[in-house]
């Protein structure tokens, strides 16, 4: 006769349960906590690697960002540009369209702006020229974004890699045009004389105001418009979107036009307010950083102001530390990377909770 086995059921020490929803203050404090942990960790690393005391580390960082009026304005300017690009990628991401081509879109629109200045500069009034530049940039950005979108909508081509490749095509095109435009063969375009945004107070204020307006507009677009609603439905579930009669293809293409056009505005601002020129590094890797900024803010334009401030603060602050200690200027990237790891990791504790074996048993 077979014996009845009385096997002991193995229960794991803990298991993971999805949370329903967390109160806002709790999720914010978890995120802030992770940033504090990350900063402490970075201070520790700096103490070990480059022998800077933690107090000194934070002091230098603050000094690097808020130390003088010039530094504060530099921070504000960087923040505005990064925020603008982050806003640009947001509608696409909300739709789960991984547009990592913001870099290329910005670069192409910088190129378009500069082309306008080179061909029309001095032949029309400054205002007309600025309008031309803005239009050209917006159209160019939109074109660069919509090419992958059309293929995504029609044949489901992988958009992540498509947009990534478009970045490099853009870089090559910029170096091609630099060779064409600069006859001396040095391929570096000096500062252009035309097409500057007007100086109100200083050269950055107009830029900041434009980006502020875009932030508010994007918030309204995403939260109070039919378009915004359609974007979030497509992002949550394409099947649901089809079922309730949303034309997914149309939404994908339209959203990418918006996204690319905003990248175009960013490119226009970079040329007309800051650089007055174009190089292959005009976008400066911010297209990639913007993705993280946007994601950290959970695609909320208002919170994005805070997250882009965080990134800019870190970059500029740690840069100051690096300059003071005479170490490689790549150091800020390491710190930003570490902090991103912490913040990315902390999302887990917001979305899930860990149930331990003991607790479970006592509940029953």
């Amino acid at each position: 006769m077979a014996k009845v086995k009385t096997e002991k059921v193995h229960e794991p020490l803990f298991h993971i349960v999805k949370r329903d929803r967390m109160p806002l203050w709790q999720s914010i404090s978890i995120r802030l906590g992770s940033i504090v942990c990350a900063l402490a960790f970075c201070a520790l690393i700096c103490y070990i690697v480059i022998d800077v005391k933690p107090a000194e580390f934070f002091e230098t960082m603050f000094d690097g960002v808020f130390g003088s009026e010039r530094r504060i304005w530099k921070m504000i300017k960087d923040l505005a540009v990064l925020l603008c690009i982050s806003l640009a990628v947001t509608p696409a991401f909300k739709m789960r369209f991984w547009n990592i081509g913001a870099e290329g879109q910005v670069l192409m629109s910088c190129l378009a702006s500069v082309a306008c200045v080179i061909y029309f500069g001095g032949k029309m009034s400054n205002w007309m020229l600025l309008v031309c530049m803005a239009l050209a940039s917006v159209i160019m950005g939109a074109i660069w974004a919509v090419i992958p979108a059309v293929f995504k909508a029609k044949w489901d081509t992988n958009e992540t890699l498509f947009t990534l490749m478009m970045n490099y095509v853009a870089t090559s095109l910029v170096s091609f045009f630099l060779i064409v435009w600069v006859p001396s063969g040095s391929s570096t375009l000096g500062e252009l004389d035309y097409g500057h945004l007007p100086n109100i107070y200083n050269r950055y204020l107009v830029l900041v105001l434009v980006v502020a307006a875009i932030t508010v507009a994007m918030y309204i677009y995403l939260n109070y418009c039919k378009h915004g609603y359609e974007i979030s439905v497509v992002g949550e579930s394409q099947k649901t979107a089809c079922y309730i009669g949303i034309n997914v293809k149309k939404v994908v293409i339209r959203t990418l036009i918006v996204s690319g056009a905003l990248c175009g505005i960013a490119g226009f601002l970079i040329v007309s307010a800051l650089d007055h020129s174009v190089t292959t590094a005009s976008a400066g890797g911010q297209g990639f950083t913007a993705i993280m900024v946007s994601w950290l803010a959970k695609f909320n334009p208002i919170i994005m102001v805070a997250t882009s401030f965080l990134i800019v603060f870190l970059q500029q602050g740690v840069n100051q530390v690096a300059t003071d200690c005479n170490i490689s200027n790549a150091f800020p990237n390491i710190i930003v990377g570490i902090i991103l790891f912490f913040v990315i990791g902390c999302e887990f504790f917001i979305n899930y909770k860990i149930m331990f074996r003991g607790k479970e048993a006592s509940k029953k």
Partner: protein, 320 residues
């Protein structure tokens, strides 16, 4: 001349081959790892740092240098893979964002480390160059680039291809990437497979960085271009349709396209190619070709050319 061109293309292509073989393993486990450029950078930094300390410490044995250098690169890069899998598997973090953060981190870390690896004006790790270019290191032609790591890359790609498509482990791994829930129900340890595949994949990709510095470039500035090469390695995965053995051919083609700017104008007698402006346009070729491959495979719409179905999605067992 044309022989030189092909040899150059092969040697450079191996950098892509390491990267894409690593990324294929990772993607077969369902992870779209956009951190590959960063991983390759960290691999290069790890390998070079090990070589630096060994040579400064007085090690002259070539075999030892090569073996330890490769191991160090593998371990450093695998450690990056561990970070990625911890965030993406255990903490269910978004893979694209994690990958991009890894690239930021990895590139920064490499630049910081490589910047410090010098003794006065000399660069110790470059003294191991002869050992890495082993069979043909004394050759004057481009043959000298075809060193140990070139052969290793092809061997690894073939082995990975065999494991993925002809063994039980490979079958399980592909199952995990296609549909983790089904794999889990079949009794496959999804978490373990994802962890091991990502770490091994990143380790192999990391060798690509070392290969570029110690084999092809052989210069102090070599490390600055690894990031761009890393993105191409990610693109090569699609070009090769997730098969490492096709990737061998693909990597040579990519290598040839990448350096077309400096070879084609001298090989072909067209006037238009000799102008300066042609170089950047030729540099565009590998990217344009990748885009075309992407479009063509998506239009042809064949099931076997699809990416793994679970690519980029995190698996949470209790989710319905």
């Amino acid at each position: 001349m044309i022989f030189d061109y092909i040899l150059n293309a092969i040697a450079l292509g191996m950098t892509f081959l390491y990267g894409s073989t690593g990324e294929i393993i990772t993607e077969k486990a369902g992870h779209l790892n956009l951190g590959i450029p960063g991983v390759m950078c960290v691999g290069a930094a790890g390998g070079c740092a090990a070589l630096h300390y060994m040579i400064v410490g007085g090690v002259t044995n070539g075999v030892l240098l090569v073996v330890i250098g490769i191991l160090a690169a593998f371990l450093a890069a695998a450690l990056m893979g561990l970070i990625f899998s911890f965030l993406a598997v255990t903490l269910h973090a978004n893979q694209n964002v994690t990958g991009l953060a890894m690239t930021t981190f990895g590139v920064g870390l490499m630049k910081y480390i490589m910047f410090g690896l010098k003794e006065g004006t000399s660069i110790p790790y470059l003294k191991a160059l002869d050992a890495f270019r082993f069979p043909f290191s004394s050759s004057n032609s481009a043959l000298k680039y075809c060193g140990v790591m070139v052969f290793l890359a092809i061997i690894i790609a073939l082995v990975v291809s065999f494991v993925l498509f002809k063994t039980r482990v490979g079958l399980h791994l592909r199952a995990v990437g296609e549909n983790p829930a089904t794999a889990d129900a079949a009794g496959i340890n999804v978490t373990l497979y994802k962890y091991v595949a990502t770490c091994v994949g990143c380790g192999i990709a990391g060798l690509g960085g070392l290969c570029y510095i110690m084999d092809y470039s052989g210069s102090r500035e070599g490390y600055l271009s690894i990031e761009a090469l890393g993105w191409l390695a990610v693109a090569l995965v699609i070009f090769a349709l997730w098969r490492p053995h096709i990737s061998i051919l693909g990597s040579v083609i990519f290598g040839a396209l990448f350096i077309a700017g400096s070879f084609i104008p001298t090989l072909l007698p067209f006037k238009i190619l000799q102008t300066m402006a042609a170089a950047p346009l030729l540099k565009m070729l590998p990217y344009v070709v990748t885009i075309i491959v992407l479009i063509v495979t998506s239009i042809r719409d064949k099931k076997e050319n699809y990416p793994p179905a679970g690519l980029g999605l995190n698996y949470y067992r209790e989710e319905r």
